[in-house]
Amino acid sequence: MPTSLPYMREKATSFFHWCRRNPVTALGFGIILGLGILGILAPLIAPYDPYALNPRERMQAPSWNHLFGTGIFGEDIFSRVLHGIRIDFGIGIGAVVIGLFTGSTVGIIAGYYGGKIDEIFMRLMDIVAAFPGFILAMAIAGVLGPSIPNLIIAIAFVNVPVYARLSRSRFLVIRNSLYAMAARGVGASDFRILTWHLLPNSLAPIFVQSTLQCGWAILDAAGLSFIGLGVHLPTPEWGVMIGLGVPRIITGQWWISFFPGLAIAVTVMGFNLIGDGLQDLLDPKRR
C-alpha cells in the first residue's frame, strides 16, 4: 500500500520541491484553490445573506460590521463577493468547457478527415476569428438576452476557433506519429483511434490553453455584465456589482465597485499564473 508514512513524506517533499522551483505557478494554484474553497464554503462563512437588503444601512464604508462596506441597497459587499466566486468561476469554467468541447470536436474532425471538410470547417473558423472577440461576444449576448447560460454561450462561441485550430494542429502532428500508425496497424477503428489514442495525446497543450482562457472568460463575462448584457439583478456576479457602484465613484463611495473588481483581478491573475507556469513546463525554451 502506498499510504505508508515514508511514501507520504516523499510525496510531500517532492511537492514542496516543486513549489520551490515554481513559486509563481504555486501561487496561482494557491489562489485558485483558496478562492475555490472560499466559494464552496461561502454559505457558511459569509456573514450576511448576499441577497439581503437593508435600506437603513445603505452605502456604509467598510467597517468590522461590513468588512467591504455596503452597497446602494444596504447589501453586504463582502458576503456578495464571496458568493460571487461560485457564479464567476461557474461562468468562466462553463464557457471554457463548452468552447473546448465544441472547438476540439471541430478541430479533430477537420484534422482527421482533411480535404474538403477540413477546408470548410477551418474557413468557418477563420470567419469567426475575424471578429474582434469581445465585440462578437457582446453582439451574441445582446441578441440572446441577458442570462448566465447565454453569457456562457456567447463567450464559448468566440473561443471556439482557438481550440479548433489548436486541436487540429496537435492532431495533425500526432496522427502521423508512431502510436497512431501502430494502432491502425492492429486494426483499430477510426473512432477508437480518435478517442483512445489521439485525444489524450493532444490534451496537455489544450489544458494549458484552457487555464489561460478561464481567466479571459471571467474577464469577458464581467465586462458584458458590467454593461448590462450579463446576469440578472441582484445576482452577486462581480461585473454587475462593479456596475452598481459606477454612479457612486465620483461621489466617493469607492468600496461598492472596488472589492468585486479586486476579486476579478485576483482570480484572473491566479488562472494566468497557472497557465503561464504550465506553458513553461511544457515548453522549457520559453523560460
Binding site: 477563420d126 475575424a130 469581445f134 462578437l136 441578441v143 469577458d220 465586462g223 473588481g261
Partner: protein, 335 residues
C-alpha cells in the same frame, strides 16, 4: 509584391461576406421590433404598417440580406433607427474620437512596454525582469473598466487633479478647428492652448488605462522574442566577433525580434477594440464603443451591423497590413 497583396485582398472577400452573413443573422434575431423606435406609441396600426413597409421590414429575410449587401457595397449601411442618420456617417463621425483614444493608448503602451520587454530580456532573472513580469500579470488580470473607475476615484475624487468623465474635451471648451480630427493634435497645431489643456486632461485617464491593459502582452512578447534573438546563432556570432553588447542588442537582436512584436501590436490593437467599448462607457467618450453599446441597448440593427462590419473590416485590414509589413521587413519570407 503587388500580386501578393492582390491575392491577400481577394482572400478577404469570402471572409468579409461570411462576416456580413453572421452580422445580418445576429441582428435579425435580436428581440424587440425596431418599428417601435421609428413611430410613436400612439401611432395607428396603419401608420406603423406603412412605415414598416417603407423600411422594408416586412420582406423575407433573404431579400433584406441582399438589399443590405447591395447597400454595403455602395457604402450605404442603412439609417440608424435611433439617430435617424446614415450609419456610415454616424460611424465616420465617431471614428476619430476612438482613433485618437486608441492611438494614444497604443503609443503609450509601445513606448513603455518595448523598452521594458528588452530590459527584462537583457537582464533576465534580475529584479527588473520580475517587476516586468508582475506588471504584465497584473495588467492583463485587471478589468479595464474597473481600473478606469479606480483611476477616476483617485485622480478626480481624491486628488482633484483631473476632471470627472467629460468626453473628449471640457463641456464649455470649444473644440479646436479641425485639421486632423484629433483634438489634441489640432489644438497643438492651431495653438489653441485652452482646448489643448482640456483635451489632454480628458484623454489622459482613458488612454493610460487602455495602455496599461495593452502593455502586458506587448512587454511579454518583446521579452520572449528578444530572448530568442539573443540566444540565436547570429547573435552569438556577432558577440564572437567582438561587437559591443549594446550593438548586439540593438543592431542585431532587436531587428530580428521586432517582427513578432509588430504582430502583437496588431493583435493588441484588436483586443483594445473590445476594451474601448467598456472604457468609452465609463469615460463618456463619444466614440464607436459608446455608439455600439447604445445600438445594442436599443436594438438599433443597422447601427450594430454597421459597426461590426466596420470594425471587423478594420481588424482584418490591420492584419493584412501586418502581413505586408512582414514581407517587407523580413526578407526570409518569400512571396
Amino acid at each position: 509584391m503587388i500580386a501578393f497583396i492582390t491575392r491577400r485582398l481577394l482572400l478577404l472577400v469570402p471572409v468579409l461576406l461570411g462576416v456580413t452573413v453572421v452580422t445580418f443573422t445576429l441582428t435579425r434575431i435580436i428581440p424587440g421590433n425596431p418599428i417601435d423606435l421609428m413611430v410613436s406609441p400612439l401611432a395607428s396600426a396603419e401608420t406603423r404598417e406603412r412605415i414598416a413597409e417603407n423600411a422594408g421590414l416586412n420582406d423575407p429575410l433573404w431579400v433584406q440580406y441582399f438589399r443590405y449587401i447591395g447597400g454595403v457595397t455602395r457604402g450605404d449601411f442603412g439609417d440608424s433607427f435611433v439617430t435617424d442618420q446614415p450609419v456610415l456617417a454616424d460611424l465616420t463621425s465617431r471614428f476619430m474620437p476612438t482613433f485618437e483614444l486608441t492611438l494614444f493608448a497604443m503609443l503609450l503602451a509601445v513606448i513603455l512596454a518595448v523598452p521594458l520587454g528588452i530590459a527584462s530580456a537583457v537582464w533576465r532573472g534580475t529584479w527588473i525582469d520580475h517587476v516586468s513580469r508582475l506588471l504584465a500579470v497584473f495588467g492583463v488580470a485587471m478589468p479595464v473598466f474597473w481600473v478606469s473607475l479606480v483611476a477616476i476615484y483617485v485622480f478626480f475624487f481624491l486628488l482633484n487633479w483631473l476632471p470627472a468623465p467629460q468626453g473628449r474635451i471640457g463641456v464649455i471648451i470649444t473644440p479646436p478647428a479641425t485639421i486632423t480630427g484629433l483634438y489634441t493634435v489640432d489644438a497643438l497645431l492651431t495653438g489653441d492652448w485652452k482646448a489643448l489643456r482640456s483635451s489632454v486632461q480628458s484623454i489622459v485617464l482613458p488612454a493610460s488605462v487602455l495602455a496599461f491593459a495593452a502593455m502586458a502582452p506587448l512587454a511579454r512578447m518583446t521579452r520572449a522574442s528578444m530572448i530568442e534573438a539573443l540566444d540565436a546563432d547570429y547573435t552569438r556570432a556577432a558577440r564572437a566577433l567582438g561587437l559591443s553588447e549594446r550593438s548586439v542588442v540593438f543592431r542585431h537582436a532587436l531587428r530580428n525580434a521586432i517582427l513578432p512584436v509588430i504582430t502583437m501590436i496588431a493583435i493588441v490593437y484588436g483586443y483594445l477594440l473590445g476594451g474601448v467599448v467598456l472604457v468609452e462607457n465609463v469615460f463618456a467618450w463619444p466614440g464607436l464603443g459608446r455608439y455600439v453599446y447604445n445600438a445594442i441597448a436599443s436594438s438599433d440593427y443597422p447601427a450594430l451591423q454597421g459597426f461590426i462590419l466596420y470594425s471587423t473590416t478594420a481588424y482584418v485590414l490591420l492584419f493584412l497590413l501586418v502581413d505586408i509589413l512582414y514581407v517587407i521587413l523580413d526578407p526570409r519570407v518569400r512571396i
